[in-house]
């Protein structure tokens, strides 16, 4: 609402000098990450719209309904989900302990968060391998193409997050200068935000990919995406 109020200002009238908008580096970094997350959300939203539209064509085959379908056995995926949940939880632990000045917990949280994320990516890779060996290659059917595309792109985002995580680790184990400490605090905060987002995104993708064609049909019709 602030934004709307600002838009009704009359700048040609003398208005004095309002305070600076600058709220500190931490705030700026968070704002930058929020903008980035908006872009990533739009990206996946459009993929999901494309998925729903494509699912209404007659050659669509579900992935998880029959025992002979690729996602019928979801054990590995559940395991991977658990890894990502733990990664998110540990990064939150790191973030909170950082605020409360518990350096040991925060470092432990940071390290474990990253390791579980690596476990998630490795787990996804194992699952792709498993599908590949069963002959479920990418162009077998469109739903499977979307499965590889969406999970792959999600994994790429986790890996990009791990680069930021590496930077945070670098500040954590580097010299204890004030500069490094401030950076570490910001990076842990940003990593936690980013991982919560990735976890939520994974949840949506997981549900979407294993849903029934009737569900897609209902959503597509509701959104006017029917063919």
């Amino acid at each position: 609402m602030n934004f709307l109020a600002a838009l009704t200002e009359k700048p040609w009238e003398p208005g004095g000098i309002p305070q600076s908008q600058f709220l500190g580096r931490e705030h700026t970094r968070r704002a930058g990450l929020k903008v980035l997350l908006t872009v990533v959300s739009v990206l996946f939203f459009l993929f999901i719209v494309a998925f729903l539209m494509r699912s209404q064509y007659p050659d669509w085959q579900p992935l998880a309904e029959q025992p002979n379908q690729p996602l019928f056995n979801k054990n590995q995926l559940w395991l991977n989900t658990l890894s990502l949940i733990l990664a998110s939880v540990f990064l939150q632990v790191a973030r909170v302990s950082m605020r409360r000045n518990h350096p040991v917990f925060s470092q432990l949280g940071l390290i474990l968060g990253g390791l579980f994320s690596c476990a998630f990516v490795a787990g996804q890779f194992v699952f792709w391998q498993h599908l590949y060996q069963q002959g479920f290659v990418i162009n077998v059917n469109p739903a499977l193409s979307f499965f590889y595309l969406l999970t792959g792109l999600h994994a790429v985002h986790v890996v990009i997050g791990l680069l930021a995580w590496l930077a945070a680790v670098f500040f954590a184990i580097g010299r204890k200068t004030e500069f490094n400490q401030v950076r570490l605090k910001h990076y842990v905060d940003l990593c936690a935000m980013y991982w919560h987002f990735l976890l939520a995104l994974w949840g949506i993708l997981f549900v979407l990919l294993v849903s029934k064609p009737d569900t897609y049909k209902a959503i597509a019709e509701f959104c006017g995406l029917g063919v």
Binding site: W12, I17, T28, V42, N139, S145, L149
Partner: protein, 574 residues
């Protein structure tokens, strides 16, 4: 504390960190602009080659149908994405945003540097497609499947792959830049600089960046999915199809799905280019007419309304795809509605000039030229926005004339106007006025001579995208003469740009010294301690903003402009 450290961190101290791996927004802006202009010259040459074929069919052996389509495709894509988008956001955006909002730099300088290097990489990948077997893609700039990736279309082996990869890299670059522009405008404005005190240039670039951040993902989605179809044999967009007598492995995909995704990006793209142009023109007109911009608040609101509405008009590019008539009705309505805020802007520019103290210098000439070409191009948009008129006109030269007037010539005139206006700040020297005027009149009248006749060709039914026009009874002989004239003018206008390039280089060394504020402008970029501004822009203290950017000819003051950082309380009236 940390902010000071941040500032020192990218203080350049060697040639490499100062000019090559620079994190300074001003250097990055110039890097962006130089790359964009160079790649734009390639696209200009391609258009000349196209016109050679159209004006004098059969006279040039080296142009065959395949190479013609490659010229068309690369010309379109380079001009829209790699020149206009890059120079408005990466060039003008980078240079002007921190200076105009009173910041020392972009908020994430390192990401900003990465952005320009990713952009360069995207350009190199794209240019590489000229040297691979089969050459660049000739699928048309819209890259519609299935033809874009099937044999028979030029460049369907490597050209299309490089094009899609290059677009994906460009989108990463644009996103990294965009993060900076948006966050800087929102968070790094100096004390006193409220949103409604921002110059309209910043508003235009800010809104265009938001559009870019939200629209480019659609292009990314379509590029990635098409790459999968091409390389991995998936069927996102590819229907069951026979190619060269062979049944391909694809089946069930939807080419229309691609069109929706592409135009969900493609239409906002028009405004990604137009909104910064709107903003810059507003500032040029106000400064050089020595009058405050007419209806500032309405100008801001119009920018926002246009930005929002640009996401609900995309399917007017697809009227001939066989859509549901109700769907077409909806999009025709939104298309006509978006003309309202756009028209308001045109009225406000004209009313700003009304009774102004107009200084007809080169930037002002280009700004006025823009108002003219944009109005003409906008009016033909009203024709094409209607489904019934679009159906017969869609595949003719009328459309070519329309979109070149409205988003080719118009924004390019603003790019020129902007360069003539801010070059003194970037280099400390003025561009030569005489060369500038020759450049303006030849470009302005020349482009009219090129595109105005194309409307008539379109109404005659001359189809676009054709390589040659022999043996069509409905095309009169006179159309061929007209085409020859258009080609001659196109090559003339292209050659005139050499004057501009020469002027850029010559004035760098021999131009008149500019001083800090040669145009007597109010906005903050003209109030820096040194010209060109040094690292950190503002010396020891940030400027404090006391007023909006349009205090020209204020009654009661001797000088006819009050800079944004001028305060009544601390200084005597000038």
């Amino acid at each position: 504390m940390e902010d000071e450290l941040e500032q020192d961190m990218h203080e350049p101290n060697s040639f490499w960190t100062k000019y090559v791996w620079s994190q300074d927004h001003k250097v990055i802006a110039i890097q962006y602009s130089v790359i964009a202009i160079l790649v734009g010259i390639v696209a200009l040459i391609l258009s000349g080659l196209m016109r050679l074929q159209l004006g004098f069919p059969g006279s040039f052996d080296f142009i065959d149908p395949s190479s013609y389509y490659q010229f068309v495709t690369m010309h379109g894509m380079i001009m829209v994405i790699y020149l206009l988008t890059a120079i408005f956001l990466g060039g003008f955006g980078n240079y002007l945003i921190p200076l105009m909002v009173g910041a020392r730099d972009m908020v994430f300088p390192f990401v900003n540097m990465l952005s320009v290097w990713f952009y360069l990489l995207a350009v190199i990948v794209l240019m590489a497609s000229f040297f691979v077997p089969g050459g660049p893609t000739g699928a048309g700039w819209t890259l519609y499947p299935p033809q874009a990736i099937l044999p028979g279309t030029p460049g369907s082996d490597w050209g299309i792959i490089l094009m899609l990869v290059s677009l994906a890299i460009f989108i990463v670059a644009a996103t990294m830049g965009g993060l900076n522009y948006v966050t800087t405008v929102l968070q790094a404005r100096t004390r006193g600089m409220t949103l409604m005190r921002l110059p309209l240039t910043v508003w235009g670039i800010f809104m265009a960046t938001i559009l870019a951040l939200l629209a480019f993902p659609a292009l990314f989605v379509s590029a990635v999915m098409m790459l999968f179809d091409k390389i991995l044999g998936t069927s996102f967009f590819m229907p069951a199809i026979l190619s060269m007598g062979q049944q391909l492995d694809h089946e069930g995909g939807s080419p229309i799905l691609f069109q929706h995704l592409f135009w969900f990006f493609g239409h906002p793209e028009v405004y990604i280019v137009a909104l910064p142009a709107f903003g810059i023109v507003s500032d040029l007109i106000s400064t050089h007419a020595r009058k405050n911009i007419f209806g500032y608040r309405l100008m801001v609101w119009a920018i926002i309304i246009i930005g929002v509405m640009s996401f609900v008009v995309w399917a007017h590019h697809m009227y001939i795809s066989g859509m549901n008539p109700l769907f077409g009705y909806f999009f025709a309505t939104t298309t006509l509605i978006i003309a309202v805020p756009t028209a308001i802007k045109v009225y406000n520019w004209v009313l700003t000039i009304w009774h102004g103290n107009i200084r007809l210098n080169v930037p002002m000439l280009f700004a006025l030229g823009f108002v003219s070409t944009f109005t003409i191009g906008g009016l033909t948009g009203l024709f094409l926005g209607n489904v019934v008129l679009d159906l017969p006109l869609s595949d003719t030269y009328f459309v070519v004339a329309h979109f070149h007037m409205v988003m080719g010539v118009s924004p390019i005139l603003v790019v020129f106007g902007g360069i003539y206006h801010w070059y003194p700040k970037m280099s400390g020297r003025m561009l030569d006025e005489t060369m500038g005027k020759i450049h303006f009149w030849c470009t302005f009248l020349g482009t009219y001579a090129i595109y105005f006749p194309m409307h008539y060709l379109g109404i005659l039914g001359v189809p676009r995208r054709y390589f040659a026009y022999e043996n069509y009874d409905f095309i009169p002989e006179s159309a061929k003469d007209l085409n020859a004239m258009i080609s001659v003018m196109a090559i003339f206008v292209a050659l005139v740009q050499l004057i501009f390039l020469f002027n850029l280089v010559w004035s760098l060394f021999k131009g008149k010294k500019a001083g800090d504020n040669p145009w007597e402008a109010t906005s903050l970029e003209w109030q820096t301690e040194t010209t060109p501004p040094g690292h950190g822009n503002w010396g020891k203290n940030l400027p404090i903003c006391h007023r909006w950017a349009y205090d020209y000819s204020v009654p009661g003051y001797e000088q006819d402009f009050l800079p944004q950082n001028f305060s009544d309380d601390t200084e005597e009236k000038p």
